[in-house]
């Protein structure tokens, strides 16, 4: 049973993989793109197939009972439902995607993508868009030509905007029209954020920081990979199951924090980048100035404004 379902799923998945490959709109193309009739596909939905069976039953019944009024009714219903196919198709036909732009987004979070369509005076209330398996409604009213959808992200850096699948089942849910657009466009995805490491202290010289006994002891917290080993409170840790580290009060405001690549030795590369990004975010949220020192000793900052924030995150995202 389970295996059968898996079998079917895998078949469906295979078809899902195959169909796009056969369909148009899979090659990246520059916007604007108009969905002309060659690239809008349409099939009946499950409900549509159900209604087809129903209409066939009604037809046979009316014919068998030689009841012309019933036959006429069946023909009317059938013609109306069949022509709803054209309305479904019309939802997508002539849709023009003018441009796309993406917000800044962090890896693993969904990235908002703003779409601008050409306003052809036609409402498309049932339009959906999917950038992965999740269909998102993006209704267009007449005169409104913008909508937003979110894309999945799984790696930092420049990501091609995934293929967009536009679809609609309007007006009756009996047919489903869809079309693909693969925009020739990239968005920058900021690194994944890790917030579990305590940011280093404010001192310029890392060596000085480690001996910064002058800082006021603030408390204990759990050890995270990357914490300076000399901050471990060994005695306190002995009484617990896990390591504890001493926390010190933050430096007085006004002095720039310093986030250095080399502070995070012993971690793998992506974790380092994520940790740095997390510190940058925290500092930006707290409105504290910071300096970012990258692997190649490139130093950014100090600064605390949005431009500096984006500069830092972009630099981190673009690291090889």
């Amino acid at each position: 049973m389970d295996a059968a379902i898996r079998e079917r799923d895998s078949l469906a998945a295979r078809i899902r993989r195959w169909l796009p490959a056969l369909a148009r709109g899979r090659r990246p193309e520059a916007l604007p793109v108009t969905l002309d009739r060659n690239r809008v596909y349409i099939v009946p939905t499950r409900a549509g197939l159900g209604f087809a069976v129903l209409l066939a039953t009604m037809l046979i019944g009316a014919l068998n009972y030689q009841n012309n009024a019933a036959l006429l009714l069946t023909c009317m219903l059938g013609a109306a439902l069949a022509s709803s196919m054209l309305l479904t198709w019309r939802e997508l036909h002539d849709l023009t995607l003018r441009s796309l732009h993406a917000d800044h987004g962090f890896c693993d979070a969904r990235l908002p993508i703003h779409m601008a369509f050409a306003d052809d005076g036609r409402a498309r209330p049932g339009l959906h868009v999917a950038l992965d398996d999740i269909e998102q409604p993006c209704p267009l009213r007449a005169g409104v030509s913008r909508a937003t959808a979110t894309a999945p992200t799984d790696a930092r850096g420049w990501m091609p905007i995934p293929r967009l699948r536009f679809s609609s089942t309007l007006p009756f849910g009996l047919f489903r029209a869809w079309s693909w657009i693969t925009p020739d466009q990239y968005v920058l995805v900021y690194p994944r954020i890790l917030r579990d490491g305590r940011p280093p202290s404010h001192h310029d010289d890392p060596r000085e920081r480690t001996t910064a006994g002058g800082d006021e002891f603030a408390g204990l917290r759990e050890y995270h990979v990357g914490d300076p080993i000399r901050h471990v409170a060994w005695k306190a840790s002995a009484r617990h199951d896990h390591l504890l580290v001493r926390e010190f009060d933050r430096a007085a405001p006004g002095q720039p924090l310093r986030f250095d690549w080399r502070d995070l030795s012993g971690l793998d590369r992506e974790t380092r980048i994520s940790r740095l990004a997390g510190w940058v975010c925290d500092a930006y949220t707290a409105a504290r100035p910071w300096t970012l020192v990258l692997e190649d000793r490139r130093t950014l900052g100090p600064g605390s404004d949005a431009a500096h924030y984006h500069l830092c995150l972009t630099a981190l995202a673009e690291l090889p």
């Binding site: 009739r37 409900a47 159900g50 209604f51 129903l54 009604m58 037809l59 019944g61 009316a62 014919l63 068998n64 009972y65 030689q66 009841n67 012309n68 009024a69 019933a70 036959l71 006429l72 009714l73 069946t74 023909c75 009317m76 219903l77 059938g78 013609a79 109306a80 069949a82 022509s83 709803s84 054209l86 309305l87 198709w89 019309r90 036909h93 002539d94 306003d119 052809d120 005076g121 036609r122 409402a123 209330p125 049932g126 959906h128 398996d133 999740i134 269909e135 998102q136 409604p137 209704p139 007449a142 005169g143 409104v144 030509s145 913008r146 089942t169 309007l170 007006p171 009756f172 849910g173």
Partner: protein
């Protein structure tokens, strides 16, 4: 299942049924009930409607299915109630009642979009089945309109309708279905004409035309009551020339020879294969075409008295027409009749004569005694006896009333001396009995009398309520002579049943009856063109193209081509871009302002930007500086600052332009 779809927009979880489609689904279900109400018991319909209302109120307060116990109980109660009423769950009426009940049960558990779609499909099917009971034009149109709420429900199940609890979503929900039904009507008609009809039904569908109780072969007092109050059309007759005068519009159906004390039946005499006596025709024959609606009997009706049988029919010894096949579908036939005639005037066959004098023993001694007294008074004068009998009905306190009281065992005596109230069959029955008791051969004739002459379309419309019974007596030298004893009755009580008895000249037709009669021409057209369109008509479809008989295969090919063309044409229509490009409302408004200002002498220069232009205007028209400054700010912001100016602000700007009237300063 992966969440691969997020349908149905704004309400609750994706597949949950929103209030609007649910309300529309309830309305659709009520429509289905209404379509089937004419043949379901009133209490049954009322209970189902009440359940729908209760369910609607329940779901308005709180979502959720009705408890499973209640649903199961209903699921059992519906067939149980139907069996209790009809005695069987099988057959047309019980079947319709059961499916209506099941649809209501489905409504009780409809909580998801999927349920609602299934319920709508089911409802469409049940709507269609309502047409098995009545194929009339009006009813077909009503059922067709009932598709609208069904389509509106389907539309409301999809996203994109204005949400909220108000009425804002109703119009758009109904619009799609209405437009689609209207636009696809030509395609539907094409399909209707071209879908090959079955020559023979696939499964038992005999005798399933409209469920009408037409005329029956047995006539007992009171039997015809339901017929006389039935306004259904029985037949339509088109005459070659002028129609016969009203007094001669007697349409002979069957002749009843045999009386058992209670009821008149045709008896053996009517079935004997004797050739009918030739009709002595005097004056010209009347030729006419009859369209007889299905009666599921063999009797055919013809103007008194037909001279020859039409095709596929026999003429009995009493000049009645007998179809070889039961009339399960409307039939057309052509007959010639003599309105001035002599029937068997030379001699009456002794065996027929004996039958026409037969009376059951031990019944109605009073009537026999009366007839014998008349005979002894009149001697051999048969006419005097007939006059006596008619005088009795005219002056003896007899009343014509459709609400006749029931009669006891000696029905003739009871009627003649006691109740004295009845309608045509009472009078025909009593009169014929009296004649036989007096020794005059007599028989009862049942048929239609009167009718409505549609002068516009030139045909005579006969309804079931025109049913009538009269007598024929055989007189030496004159043969069978028609006597209508009902016509002798002087007092008529109008029944309030809304029906009409043909035999009193339409005394109690309701106020809309004349309109119904006039509009019957549409029904005639409907019956002939649509309902009557059968395999035979279809075979002749391509005659104009030189194909004498179209086979099912040809029709199928034509249908396929038609579907293909219709789809192509539809796709062409659908792909048309809106004709008018979305107008730049801002630019138009600005132009309007410039025209207005130009009229008072401030013309925008070709190279002048809007900011400079406005500035110049403000300087030139200090009286209007305030509004102009506001307009300038708005325009510049709407035009240049906002990528996507909100429509409300554009509208406000247009309004401001409209209301701006430059005040000229007299220099």
């Amino acid at each position: 299942m992966k969440a691969s779809r997020i349908p149905a927009g704004t309400h609750g979880t994706p597949s949950e049924l929103a209030p609007l489609p649910f309300t529309l689904l309830c309305i659709t279900t009520l429509c289905v009930l209404a379509a089937h109400a004419p043949h379901m018991p009133v209490w049954y319909t009322a209970i189902l409607a009440a359940i729908i209302a209760a369910r609607w109120l329940q779901r308005r307060r709180q979502r959720g299915r009705i408890s499973a116990w209640l649903r199961v109980a209903l699921l059992v109660a519906v067939p149980a109630a139907v069996i209790a009423v009809y005695g069987t769950p099988f057959g047309r009426e019980p079947g319709a009642a059961i499916v209506c009940g099941l649809l209501v049960v489905k409504l009780l558990e409809s909580e998801r979009v999927r349920d609602a779609r299934m319920a709508i499909g089911f409802a469409c099917f049940i709507l269609m089945s309502a047409l098995l009971f009545d194929q009339g034009l009006a009813f077909t149109i009503i059922v067709g309109l009932m598709l609208l709420p069904a389509l509106a429900t389907l539309r409301a199940l999809e996203p994109g309708l204005p949400g909220g609890s108000g009425w804002s979503g109703w119009l758009p929900a109904f619009r799609t279905g209405t437009v689609l039904l209207g636009v696809s009507l030509p395609a539907a008609l094409l399909g209707f004409v071209l879908i090959p009809r079955l020559a023979t039904p696939l499964w038992g569908a005999q005798g399933n035309g409209e469920a009408r109780t037409g005329m029956t072969e047995r006539m007992a007092p009171g039997d015809m009551h339901s017929l006389l109050t039935d306004n259904a059309v029985a037949m339509r007759i088109g005459f070659d020339g002028a129609p016969p005068p009203e007094s001669l519009r007697y349409f002979r159906g069957m002749v009843l020879w045999s009386f058992d004390g209670r009821a008149w039946v045709p008896g053996d005499a009517a079935r004997r294969p004797w050739p009918p006596a030739p009709v002595g025709v005097r004056g010209p024959l009347t030729h006419y075409n009859v369209t007889l609606l299905p009666s599921h009997q063999h009797w055919m009706f013809a103007l008194d008295v037909p001279v020859d049988a039409p095709e596929d029919a026999l003429m009995g010894p009493d000049h009645t027409l007998w179809s070889n096949k039961p009339i399960d579908q409307a039939i057309h036939y052509r007959v010639a009749s003599a309105v001035d005639y002599r029937l068997a005037s030379e001699r009456l066959d002794p065996r027929l004569r004996a039958t026409a004098l037969e009376l059951p023993d031990g019944f109605d001694p009073g009537a026999r005694a009366l007839a014998e007294r008349w005979r002894s008074e009149a001697g051999a004068n048969d006419d005097a006896i007939i006059r006596d009998a008619l005088a009795l009905f005219h002056d003896g306190g007899f009343v014509y009333d459709l609400d006749a009281p029931p009669l006891d065992r000696n029905s003739i005596d009871d009627f003649l001396f006691n109740t004295k109230t009845g309608f045509c069959e009472h009078y025909a029955s009593a009169f014929t009995f009296l004649m036989r008791a007096a020794g005059i051969p007599a028989r009862v004739v049942v048929g239609y009398q009167g009718g409505y002459w549609n002068a516009f379309a030139h045909y005579l419309l006969i309804r079931q309520s025109d049913a009538h019974a009269w007598s024929e007596v055989w007189l030496a030298g004159r043969g069978w002579v028609r006597v209508d004893p009902t016509a002798a009755v002087s007092r008529v009580v109008l029944a309030d049943t809304g029906g009409a008895a043909g035999d009193v000249g339409g005394g109690n037709r309701s106020w809309w009856m004349p309109w119904q009669n006039r509009l019957d021409v549409i029904n005639l057209w409907w019956g002939q063109t649509v309902v009557g369109f059968d395999a035979l008509d279809q075979g002749h479809l391509f005659r104009p193209f030189g194909i004498e008989h179209a086979t099912a295969q040809m029709l199928g090919i034509a249908l396929a081509i038609a579907v293909f063309l219709a789809l192509g044409f539809g796709a062409l229509l659908a792909s048309l871009r809106p004709r008018h490009k979305p107008r730049d409302a801002l630019a138009a408004a600005q132009l309007r302002l410039q025209r207005r200002l130009a009229r008072i002498g401030i013309v925008r220069g070709t190279g002048e930007g809007p900011r400079d232009f406005y500035h110049r205007c403000i300087l030139s028209l200090p009286a209007s500086a305030q509004p102009l400054r506001a307009l300038a700010t708005d325009y510049l912001e709407l035009r240049y600052a906002l990528a996507e100016p909100p429509p409300e602000r554009i509208r406000a700007f247009l309004r401001a332009i409209r209301n701006f009237h430059p005040r000229r300063v007299v220099k």
